[in-house]
Symmetry: C2
Subunit: 601 residues, 2 copies
Amino acid sequence: MKNLQPLIYVLLLSVLCLAEARIRHYRWEVKYEFKSPDCYRKLVITINGRSPGPTIRAQQGDTVIVDLKNSLLTENVAIHWHGIRQIGSPWADGTEGVSQCPILPGDTFRYMFVVDRVKNTKSVILLTTSLFSEFVDFYASMFLFEFVIINAGTYLYHAHYGMQREAGLYGSIRVALPTGEAEPFSYDYDRSIILNDWYHKSTYEQAAGLSSIPFVWVGDPQSLLIQGRGRFNCSTPGIATGFCNATNPECSPYVFTVVPGKTYRLRIGSLTALAALSFEIEGHNMTVVEADGHYVEPFVVNNLFIYSGETYSVLITANQDPSRNYWTVTKMVSRNNTTPNGLAIFNYYPNHPTKSPPTVPPSGPFWNDIEARVNQSLAIKSHPNYIHPVPQTSDRVIILLNTQNRINGSVKWSINNVSFTLPHTPYLVSLKENLLHTFEQAPPPDVINGYDNYDINAVAPNVNATSSNSLYRLKFNTTVDIILQNANTLNVNNSETHPWHLHGHDFWVVGYGRGKFNVSEDPKRYNLVNPIMKNTVPVHPYGWTALRFIADNPGVWAFHCHIESHFFMGMGAVFEEGIDKVANLPSSIMGCGDSKRFVKP
Amino acid sequence: MKNLQPLIYVLLLSVLCLAEARIRHYRWEVKYEFKSPDCYRKLVITINGRSPGPTIRAQQGDTVIVDLKNSLLTENVAIHWHGIRQIGSPWADGTEGVSQCPILPGDTFRYMFVVDRVKNTKSVILLTTSLFSEFVDFYASMFLFEFVIINAGTYLYHAHYGMQREAGLYGSIRVALPTGEAEPFSYDYDRSIILNDWYHKSTYEQAAGLSSIPFVWVGDPQSLLIQGRGRFNCSTPGIATGFCNATNPECSPYVFTVVPGKTYRLRIGSLTALAALSFEIEGHNMTVVEADGHYVEPFVVNNLFIYSGETYSVLITANQDPSRNYWTVTKMVSRNNTTPNGLAIFNYYPNHPTKSPPTVPPSGPFWNDIEARVNQSLAIKSHPNYIHPVPQTSDRVIILLNTQNRINGSVKWSINNVSFTLPHTPYLVSLKENLLHTFEQAPPPDVINGYDNYDINAVAPNVNATSSNSLYRLKFNTTVDIILQNANTLNVNNSETHPWHLHGHDFWVVGYGRGKFNVSEDPKRYNLVNPIMKNTVPVHPYGWTALRFIADNPGVWAFHCHIESHFFMGMGAVFEEGIDKVANLPSSIMGCGDSKRFVKP
């Protein structure tokens, strides 16, 4: 049976023989290993022994194949390709409970990406899909054929099941333009890093605490990682002996080596569990040129604010005194916190890479300087040569008011008084196969009852909050506005920053505001000229953020706060659009809940 | 759909209306919770908030229904009904990789037991099976209908997936005789306890260490539990702060309250991860009357040796000075160890239950007194009125020599140079549906190559040891002898005790011996008159144990060392017999590996 594989590749190649498209084949094995990314030894989910996992590098038009083997002992897994819109392949989104069943231990799951631009590949995809269906039965342990479309740009991948992302299962996707095409900026070298925060407790312990009555909050992260490396103070009192080793080479700082005079494109992604970050390189300005795969009108910053789920490209020129090294610093902002800053070394060649800079690391912005963060949000506009025209009106406005509530004694996050829970039969299967009993049919409200009188500055009155796995059904091809409305938490005078990530779409960011969104006045000030398109955007404390997107991607798409614990506690929603236009689902995504009986022999 | 449930119960009842058979319906939810069974807080897998889980109490003829909901976040589960032979229902054995796929998070799995004697229930089972198949499609989330046959006696249940048993997922099954039938001994009260050992590291950490190169051994358990309660010394140096609380009521000692002059039947099961135990009640003899569900010729002990997977009933008469309490002690034996003894209180009513006995707890036998343990093994014979006649000859002899080896740098246990690994498609499905590519077809050897010259007192020469998921195929209805042959570990002058557990069968224990089994001489000394039947038996250091069973139960059955880490490291085997006689498999056990495509719509 496996003998057919080469044949299939040949067929695929011949179908994809648009110019010199290449196949890049990755074989990944996922398992638990002991690692000490911040000098403290704990179990980490690795890919081929690494966390972060391998960077996927491709050029538009390439085909990426990832054979993912789950070698966890008793735990399932699913990987989301963050920023990939999955046009025509909604089953490939990698979101457990939404687009697929989880991958069982021992199974090898085949992910396949066609790395190309939308306009070129739609027909190819349909062709290869039908071609492949002929061969599906011949595959013993390889279930899913994924067709994923990416624009050139910076993307991420990470586990989208339980809280596994936090256990270290994440990495970068870097897609280059086709040969001969140019970016609207120039640089000498291209680098990728991922920023993260890091807990010493296992994700199981964290999740059990969040579900407990009384609620046990996970607290601040123990450290901040830069490309998987941080530094915890092993002398901290109360640590069990034998767990922390400051001399472990795994926690030596990340080194970014530069040649004097050269300009670097640094692709920065954040996959923090909790932290909003400020990132800076001592003494060096950064020019922001890309956000979430879209070119921005360049602007210069001293420090970059970046939220979990966001990616940016910045240009940095090594134009400072080359006789020394410099600090690279990440700092947790937006929450008053005890997490020490993360440090890496910006190393001018030929200085020794581990030579400590002679200066005190920059202390970064104040954690509570909301204005600076809002100003950066407002500064991000589309590059003038790459504007995707935004529809000037919308067909539907959904105001998502987030509140913290207690439901049956548990602390939850709610949207319009509904705390989101995932069903165990993926929505995509339930909706396509009409298994409507698997989730609650009454949709959540487009606006909370009593919105006009709702006081966002007060602790939620906590009336009628419920848990539900209901979803929003959108009319196909309509334009939808989403207003993220922030409010107070369960603590007096406290509102948090939430980075919201939409699957299956890029959206236009048409406005930010303070206080409560005014339905009749605020839309008049939307930026409908050159708004940036993104897939992840923050809503600032006590503020609102307005997004617009076209519901033109048949499928079922999660939309949620990218803070791992917040989504776990219910801070999410799901949109369905054009389910009738979704092609036949591959059996490979089924096998859990009620989808079990739809697996075809 | 669920509305049909009551109807089905009524139908079931009418089918089962042999006298006054009752239905005992349990609803269990499995999840992680923080518990402090020995004062040290860690995550425990609980059933309805408890570990050990609820005791299943039934009378022969009753029907037990367990609706098991998996509320773990990302982890599957499977529960084995230890000691239950599953005659006619091999798919109900609860052994991941052998008899079923694991139960996914969110799924509710229905286990159903008909608690009766073999001779009475076979026809009932077939009838109810066919009746139930009509209704299978109506069940949304309840997949498996199990028909389990039990003799009156003492059994156990526990997770049989990864190392989840050690995480706390276990409990007792107690089956009483039908009304009007009498045991061959008398007592006033009936009690059940489970003995266990307890680690502070998670099973994930333990498993990762066992798989690491270099090998990281889990070490000695931190404490011994009696009915889920133990006591770790919170002043132990090097413990992280905040984890240990000596005043936590969860770790107050277990209290066994007795009325002076009364006689108690105490059912004792061991589900230790590692420890062989000695159990005693200060100043009280115990009369052993049952082993693994079979009546033994009563004998009196001061202390009872009990190995993981074994159950015993002992009679204890409260005939000592009633003005004080007494210690109940478990002690780890067979390994030189650092684990403190486990303590409980044997409380004479009306003394206060927590009143400490005025004496120093008995120190128990020496850990290395092998002779005492062998003598107890030899003392266990069938009760003369309950002898199951043993076949006087056997058709096949399989000598299972256990060695410790290094395979590709990893430390493993091997049987005849084969370190056992589980496939991810359950054998039962593979064999019944002819998916023979899912495991290695060449069977493991009946005797190791060069057995005659093998030196069991030396470290294994470690030649040709391999990992394999191959199995033994037994001719149906033949009589098979298994010789468990112990040998040296990788450490010089070291041989361990291994309790071997056979699924799907009780076997006759026909002999124990020291040194190397002599194929021509030793069988002459077998006890073929009144051997006990058991499902779990130890092989002592540098010794052998001979078992005999009839391969008359169509199905696929695991046979393995019941030490959790040893089975994980390969110390196991699997037997197939009469696969052609197995009825159509329920879809409910499928859904993993290649069995996925056999789930029927």
